[in-house]
C-alpha cells in the first residue's frame, strides 16, 4: 500500500530553465511532481495511463508522457512545461497562433499539443501537413477535429522561419 508516510526523496533538475530542487514521495510520476509538488498545473491529465497524450511535457527536448515517467527518473534532466513557453511576458509563436486561429477550444489538451508541436518545429522547422499529423498522432483532442491545430502549427512555422 502506498502511503503519504513514505520517506520523501529530493532531486535536482531544471524546470523551464530554472535549477530546481524538489522533494516528493518516490512513487510519484513526473506529472504528479509537476502538478502537486511544483504547483505547475498547466500540465493536464486525461487518463494517467499513457493513452491520451494530454500530459505531454518535454524532457531534454523530447516529448514524453509525464504520467509514465517517474519523478525520480528526472534527476539532472531538463523539463519544459507550458508555463515555460512564454518568455518575458511574450507568447511563444505557437501560443500566438493557437490563440489567433482558435486551435484551443476547451484548452485542456492545448498545453500538450503546444509542447509536442514545439518539439516538432525544433526538429523540423517546415513540416508538411502529414508530418504534423504524424507528430501529433499521440495526442487526443475532442473539440477541434485537429484542423485548427495543424493550421496554427503551420502558421507558427512560417512566422518562425521569417525571423
Amino acid at each position: 500500500m502506498l502511503t503519504s508516510n513514505e520517506a520523501k526523496v529530493k532531486i535536482a533538475l531544471t524546470v523551464n530553465g530554472d535549477a530546481t530542487e524538489v522533494a516528493f514521495a518516490p512513487h510519484k510520476t513526473l506529472l504528479e511532481v509537476l502538478r502537486e509538488d511544483l504547483g505547475l498545473t498547466g500540465t493536464k491529465h486525461g487518463c494517467e495511463l499513457g493513452e491520451c497524450g494530454t500530459c505531454t511535457v518535454l524532457l531534454d527536448g523530447t516529448p514524453v508522457l509525464s504520467c509514465l515517467v517517474l519523478g525520480l527518473a528526472c534527476t539532472g534532466r531538463a523539463v519544459r512545461t507550458v508555463e515555460g513557453m512564454a518568455r518575458g511576458g511574450k507568447l511563444h509563436p505557437l501560443q500566438e497562433t493557437f490563440a489567433d486561429l482558435g486551435a484551443a477550444q476547451c484548452g485542456y489538451c492545448t498545453p500538450a499539443f503546444l509542447l509536442a508541436a514545439e518539439a516538432l518545429l525544433e526538429a523540423n522547422p517546415r513540416p508538411t501537413r502529414d508530418e504534423i499529423k504524424d507528430a501529433l498522432a499521440g495526442n487526443l483532442c475532442r473539440c477541434t477535429g485537429y484542423i485548427k491545430i495543424y493550421e496554427a502549427v503551420e502558421l507558427a512555422a512560417a512566422r518562425m522561419g521569417r525571423v
Binding site: 500540465t43 507550458v82 476547451c106 498522432a137 487526443l140 475532442r142
Partner: protein, 807 residues
Amino acid sequence: MSEYRVIGKALRKVDAVAKVTGATRFADDLSFPRMLYCKLLRSTQPHARIVSIDVTAARRLAGVLAVLVGRDLPIPFGILPVSQDEHTLCLDKVRFIGDPVAAVAATTEETATAALDLIQVVYAPLKSFDSAEEAVAHPEPQIHDYGDSGNLHKLIDLEFGDAAAGIAAADLVREDFFFFEGSTHLPMEQHAAVAQWSPDSKLTLWTSTQTPHYVHRALAKVLELPAARVRVIATPNGGGFGGKSDPFNHEIAVAKLAMITGRPVKITLTREEVFYCHRGRHPTLMWVRTGVKKDGAITGMHFRSLLDGGAYGSYGVASTYYTGALQTVTYNVPRYHFQGARAFTNKAPCGPKRGHGTPQPRFALEVHLDKIAEQLGIDPAELRLKTLVPPNSLTANYLRVGSMGLGACIAKVVEGSDWKGKFRKLPHGRGVGLACSSYISGAGLPIYWNNMPHSGVQLKCDRSGGVTVFCGSTEIGQGSDSILAYIVAEVLGIDPFDIAVVTADTDLTPVDLGSYSSRVTLMSGNAALQAAERARQILAVHAAKKLDVPLERLTFAEGRVFDRKDRTRGITFAEAVQCAEAAEGMIGTVGSYTPPPSAGRYRGAGVGPSPAYSYSACVAAVDVDPETGIVRVPTIWIAHDVGRSINSASVIGQVEGSIYMGLGEALMEEMAYRGNRNVVHKIPSLLEYKSPTTLEMCDVVTYLIEDPDPNGPFGAKEVGQGPLLPVMPAVANAVYDAVGVRVDEVPITPEKVLKALRSKAKGEEGRFGPTSFPDISWPEPTRVPTPWEGGDGRATPVTAAAPERQH
C-alpha cells in the same frame, strides 16, 4: 462587407491567452490548505440488492476522516423532475457496474483508495439486462420501481394527422430498420469537484459542470440546505459535449463530506469512472415506414424508436421525445406518427450527447431517404430540395420553423464536392454520400417548469470605461464567455478585450440554464444584447446632453461616443459613463431572454420547439477496401446555416469539431459491454475506446450560410451540435455508393462492411443491420390534428369510443 465592427470577425476568444499559457484553472487544478481527497466505492455487480455494507475497518484506517453510505444521503435527485431516481450513494440496490455505494474522505488520495478496499459490501444478485430488447422481454425484476411499464421507463405515442392513411396514398412505401450504437463524450478532462464548507453554514462547490444552476438545485435539495447558502462555481470545462450536464453523485458526495469534516474535499474521477458517469448516446433501434409520391413528396411517415437508457433516468425522457421530434423540420412530412420507448438496463446511464436524441433518427431518416431516392430514380440531393420545409412555417408536430437555409446548404455542398460528377460515377471502392440535418438553438421550454427567463445578464459600466458582464452561462470550450464580450462590445462600441466577463457562479451571476441544447449563443446572447442596449440608451441620453447633439445622431464606436455627422464632436466611452454616473448614480443594467411560446399544446409538445433551427448539409467521400472492409474518409464537405456568425473562426471551429465527433461515431466509437449477464463495460479506457486521432481525421471543407434569424442575436443560430448529425448517414450512404452494400448500423466497422459484402457475394441482400423491432404495447396515441387540418396544437380529447389503433 459586414456593417459590424466586432460581430462576425475571427477574433481571439477572451480566454484564449489563459488557455495557451496553461493559466486556465480547471477543477482539478484547484487546491486548498487542509484539503481532503474523496474516493467512491463503486458496485461490482450489474444488478443486486445491497444486503449489507460494513465500513468499520475503513473508518478506523489512519488518515480517514469520514465514510458515507447511501442512508447518509437518502433524498433522491435527477436532472428531470419526472426522473428523480438517483441517490448520491446507492440506498438498497445497485443498478450497474460502477454505481457508487460508498464515499471516503481521507488526507491523501492513496489513503482514500486504501480505505475503499476495507469496505465490505454483501450483494444479493438480481437478474440483469444488457439490452433494450431484453428489458422489453422481461418486465421483472424491475430495475426501478417506477416507469410506464415493467422495465420500460417511458412510452410515447404521438400521431399528427392520420399517418397510415397518408402512407396508403403513396406511390411507394418503404420500410427500414436501423440501429445506432451508444457512444460516449470522452471529454479530455475527467470530471472533478472541490467542496468547501464554512462554519457560517455556507457551502461552495467548484465543479466541472455544464449546468451549475441545476447542480445548485440538486445540492440544496439533497443536502437540505437553503439554496441561498449554496454557491456553485462551474470551472471552465475541459470538454463537455453533454457529459457534464447532469448533477452527479460525486459532486454531492464531496459537498456532504466537506460539511461533515469542515475541511475542503476534492474528487477527481479516474478515466474509468468517467466511463461509468457516461450519460452518452442512447443505443437506439429504429423502424421507419414512409410513403412517397413518384416525385419524392412525402405523404406520411411512421417512426419507431427503442432506446437503451441504461440504469437511470437522466435526460432520458427528453432524449426519447427527441428521437421523434425533429424529423419534421427538414422535409415536408404532412402526416406523422411517432412511437418511442426507453428501457432501463443495467448499464451506465445514457443521457444527452452532442445532438441529444436526434443523431439516431437523423441517421435512420437520411439513409432511408437515400434508399427511397434510388428506388424513385431521383438524385438524393434533388429529392431533398423538392421536399424542403418552407421558412416561416409550422410543421405537423407544431414546431415553428423560422429562417431555413437548408436549400442553400445543399447547393453549396453539391457544387463544392462535385457531387454530380461523382455520385454513382466513381470506381468500385470509392463513393460519395449526402445527408442533411437540423438542430435546435436551445429548447423552447426549461427542464423544470417555470415561467422565468432562461438566461440573464447583468452589466456594470465603470467610470474607468471598463465594462463587466455577469452571466450564469458556462464556458465549455465553445466560446460562450467570448460571445458575451463580443455582443456587448458591438453595442457599446468598445474593444471586447476591455470587457471583463464573470460567468457560471451562482453567487455572482444571474441564472443561465446551462451549456446544453445549443442554447447559449442565442439565449445568453439575447440577454447580453438587451442589457447592452439598455446601457447604451442611458449613456446616450447623457452624452447627447453633454455634446448637445440629437440622441439619434450618436454613434458608439472605437471607444467613443460621437456625432455621426461630425465625428470630431464626441467624448470617450469612459467620459460618457462618467456623465451618466454623475447624473444618475452607478450605471448598471440587466437583460434577460425567454423563448417565444411554443405552438404545440399537447402532452409532449415541450420537446422540439426552439427559437430557431440550424440546418446542415454534408457530402462525405469514402474509400472502402473490399478486402478488409476498412472505410476511410478523406474529405467531408459541410455547409451550415448558422444564421449569423458571431465569430467566424469559432463557428468554423465548432463545425470542424462536430465533423470530427460525427466521424468517430460513424466509423469507430461504441460503448461496448460484455454480455452473459455480467454487463461489464468492455472498454473503459482511452486506448480501447477508439476515437479518431490526427491519422483518421478527414479534411473538412466548410461553407457557412448566413441567413439571419429574427430570433437570434444579430441573427445567430446554433452551430455546436447540428453539423455532427449528417456525418454518420452521409458516410453510410457513401459506403453504399462505393461498394453497393448497406450498413444500416453505426459504427460502420470493417466487420460489418465485410459481412454485408459477403452476403452480397452469396447473392443475398448486401446489407448489415437489424431486421426486426420488438413488439411493444404502445399506449393509446395522443392524436393531434395538423395545422392544415385546422388543428390548434391541442390533442383531440380521448373518448371512450376511440377507435382501435393499428400497428
